[in-house]
Amino acid sequence: MKRKDIQRLFGKGLVDKIAASMCAILIGLFVGFLVLLASNPDNALSAFLTILKGGLSGGSKGIGNVLFKAIPIIMTGLSVAIAFKAGMFNIGTPGQFIMGAYTAIYIGCYLTFLPPVIHWLVCILSATAVGALWVLIPALLKAFLNVNEVIATIMMNYIGMYTSNYLITKYVFDANKNQSKLVAASAQTPKLGMDKLFPGSSLNAGIFVALLCMILIYVLLQRSTFGYELKACGQHCSAARYAGINEKKCIVMTLLIAGALAGLGGGLTYVAGDGRSIFVVDVLAQEGFTGISVALLAMNHPIAIFFSGTFIASLTVGGFYMQLYQYPYEVIDIIIAIIIYFSAISLLVRKLMERWRNRQEVSQ
């Protein structure tokens, strides 16, 4: 790819942006290493190397599993990013995610008369619709009454969590394990050769769905008039109104798309056929909040989200092995959190760098 093409794809200042994110990652990892050292110096180095290797250590199986783990957080990452682009903070991804997940499980368990791939499609499309539905109230409140979407969506998280727990125990409960039932085989995501390409991993066609969403969101933001309206609303609401852009429609549509993405992510996660199911506990879906990290690290760029999602998934897989070295699994969350902190700071650093460079130019 020529430099110009790359620029067009990612926008200007690409090198700066990547450099900033890389800096954040390196500093985050370094501080993470210090944390490891502090809690148990003996195993720190080998544990750290394991994190670095992440999923890669497991060969093609490991890579497959990293990509598999990346699917839900790419989806929630896209969800957070598109809302960000429109100037809104969709912190309701856990709720949208879990309601999408429940819907997919319900349909996956009951509508068994459907033929295999169709059944799966119905599952994930319904999950998408319910995800969108779950953000409808906050979207309308925001558009028509200017209720802050952060508060409204965060409350919908808890409503979603308790609602899904209730519905699971009522309709799709596996009482022995205190979790949801597994979906029928016909509802499981097709492998589409991924099991051959990455033998032994759980990877399936879900990754293509995530890639497709990524491309759609990219086109929407960069090429479409709706993306243009959305960004105008997000960056300068009063100017958008002046231009005749229907900001209410813009707010509602954007949040619905964001909710749909998170819901789809939830659906894909629980029809994957890897045996995962929803535990009936009062905890918000982790993948929802991780989406915020993914979007932040990628600076809300849809294509970068694929990479940041994969990276964080890789750290998560690496973190799983931490237990081998007598570290709690949560150590990896600390490291991810540090990286996100530094990527927020790196935005600041980038601004300072720009200012400094401008000053250089002036004094010349």
């Binding site: 479409s224 243009y228 105008a232 100017a239 231009a243 229907n246 720009e354 200012r355």
Partner: protein
């Protein structure tokens, strides 16, 4: 004797711009020293450095011959330097007295002792002949009064060096006269005044000496006695300027905009911001709405352009009732709008110029097909506008709009709005904050529109602009139209009386 204030070799850089370059100037005790320059010449930056809002990158400040470091406005206050900002810093629901003592309250046993303060304020206002009521609530007094409160604030703090930042820009001609009297009496009492302005007449009226800044550099300091307007404007702009707008008489044609009994009510309060306003604008005529800021002009325009719903009345464009129409409908059915606040409304500042130029027509069939942009058209459209309207930028169509100069931002808006080819152009303070060259340019474009048979409705706070550009003048006061005149029939002074509400016509 040392000058009371001396600034030596001041240089201040901002990203991409040098606001002040090696500027030096000195003020003697008891004089009124004007600081003249176009917008962006660096006057306000220089004074902000003196007042401690910015730090100079290079150069020294001397007070009474001694070098000082002024890092905050509090430091400035310690050296008895005070400033009346262009936009007053008053708490609206405080009384005049409370505003004056805010920050330097006298306290006895933990309680405010207002008595002393009141006496001091009354003494001061008697000494300088300010007619002011200490108990009035600030939001209910006139702008001229508010300015006096700002001045009293400085006097109360016993400041000796008073900086006035464009003090006349919010006043009526009568209030300006009052202000000039006040400044003279302050100088007589030994106060030193630095007057920031770009109005030549004001300098001739009140200042003793004048330092001219151009593009961040000092052009020189002159004695006002020995200079006239033309010389001053040449110093300021660096070339000879056409101060008069060229215009040929023209007979107006059909009515384009018709406003009937329009009422706009403030949200939540019962007050009518625009009250039963009726007028019309015809093809080939420029109608100017004159008035002091905040008398309903903005709301009138918001109602016309759809940014604020009217509570009553009717708006017709070419006989099409658009009273309840959407902003988009109005944009595509005859209204071009150069908004008063180009940063708030006119432009999406983080966008590139190309994107901003497409803001009003991105949805048209040439620009997009099936909701996807036709980038080649969008690009060539932007390039055409840059060429045609002489918009100067660092990186062409990909320039981020926020990084452009105010004049070029305004040109971009003008380009976009005129290119819509609508029958009515609404231009609100189109030259606000522009330099003389850009003002000339924008006036010429507006007159061109009129000559091409478009209707123009212009809102302006600058009386000179109103008098020279308009074909017909409407004066607004407290939401009403209180007078309608032809510019050749009325003097600036008389217009001022209408603007201040001292006179009104019954327009039945």
């Amino acid at each position: 004797m040392h000058p009371i204030i001396e600034m030596r070799g001041i240089t201040k850089r901002f990203p991409g711009i040098i606001a002040n370059q090696n500027v030096s100037f000195a003020v003697q005790k008891g004089e009124i020293h004007a600081l003249l320059g176009e917008n962006g010449a660096g006057k306000s930056t220089l004074m902000s450095i003196l007042f401690g809002l910015y730090q100079a990158d290079e150069g020294d400040i001397l007070v009474k011959g001694k070098p000082v470091h002024i890092k905050t406005p509090n430091d400035a206050n310690r050296y008895a330097i005070g400033m009346v900002h262009q936009h007053f810093k008053l708490v609206h629901n405080f009384t005049v007295l409370e505003n004056i003592i805010l920050g330097v309250e006298s306290v006895r046993n933990g309680f405010l002792s207002m008595g002393e303060a009141r006496k001091k304020v009354i003494d001061l206002s008697e000494k300088y002949n300010f007619k002011i009521d200490c108990n009035a609530v600030t939001s209910e007094i006139t702008v001229g009064m508010q300015q006096r409160v700002e001045i009293l604030k400085m006097l109360y703090r016993e400041n000796d060096i008073l900086i006035f930042d464009e003090p006349s820009s919010v006043l009526t001609p009568q209030e300006v006269e009052e202000l000039i009297k006040i400044m003279r009496s302050l100088a007589r009492e030994g106060k030193t005044i630095i007057l920031i302005t770009h109005k030549l007449q004001e300098i001739l009226d009140v200042a003793d000496r004048c330092t001219v800044l151009r593009k961040g550099k000092s052009v020189g300091t002159v004695d006002v006695k020995n200079i006239d307007k033309t010389q001053l404007s040449e110093m300021m702009v660096g070339r000879q300027v056409e101060l008069q707008v060229k215009k040929t008489p023209k007979e107006p044609g059909d009515t384009v905009l018709e406003v009937k009994e329009l009422v706009v009510t403030a949200k939540g309060r019962g007050k009518n911001l625009v009250d039963r306003v009726s007028f019309s604008v015809r093809r080939g005529e420029i109608v100017c709405v004159a008035g002091i800021d905040g008398n309903g002009q903005s709301e009138l325009v918001y109602a016309l352009t759809g940014l604020m719903p009217p509570t009553g009345g009717q708006i017709l464009i070419n006989d099409d009732d658009i009273t309840r129409a959407s902003v988009r409908y109005r944009n595509t059915h005859g209204i071009s709008h150069i908004p008063e606040d180009r940063h708030k409304y006119g432009l999406v500042l983080p966008f590139q110029l190309e994107e901003n130029l497409a803001l009003k027509n991105y949805f048209t069939p040439q620009m997009q097909s099936r909701h996807l942009f036709r980038f080649d058209y969008r690009r060539s459209f932007a390039e055409k506008l840059i060429e045609k309207y002489d918009i100067r930028t660092a990186r062409g169509i990909t320039t981020v709009t926020a990084s452009m100069s105010g004049g070029n931002q305004q040109k971009a808006i003008v380009a976009r709005e005129l290119e819509l080819g609508n029958d009515l152009l609404i231009a609100v303070q189109p030259t606000r904050g522009m330099d003389v060259g850009a003002i000339e340019y924008i006036h010429r474009r507006i007159v061109e529109q009129r000559d091409a048979g478009k209707a123009v409705l212009m809102v302006s706070l600058e009386l000179d602009e109103v008098m020279s550009v308009s074909d017909r003048i409407l004066v607004m006061f407290e939401g009403f139209i209180v007078g309608e005149f032809l510019p050749q029939e009325i003097s600036v002074q008389e217009l001022g009386l209408y603007m201040a509400g001292a006179k009104r016509e019954d327009l039945a």
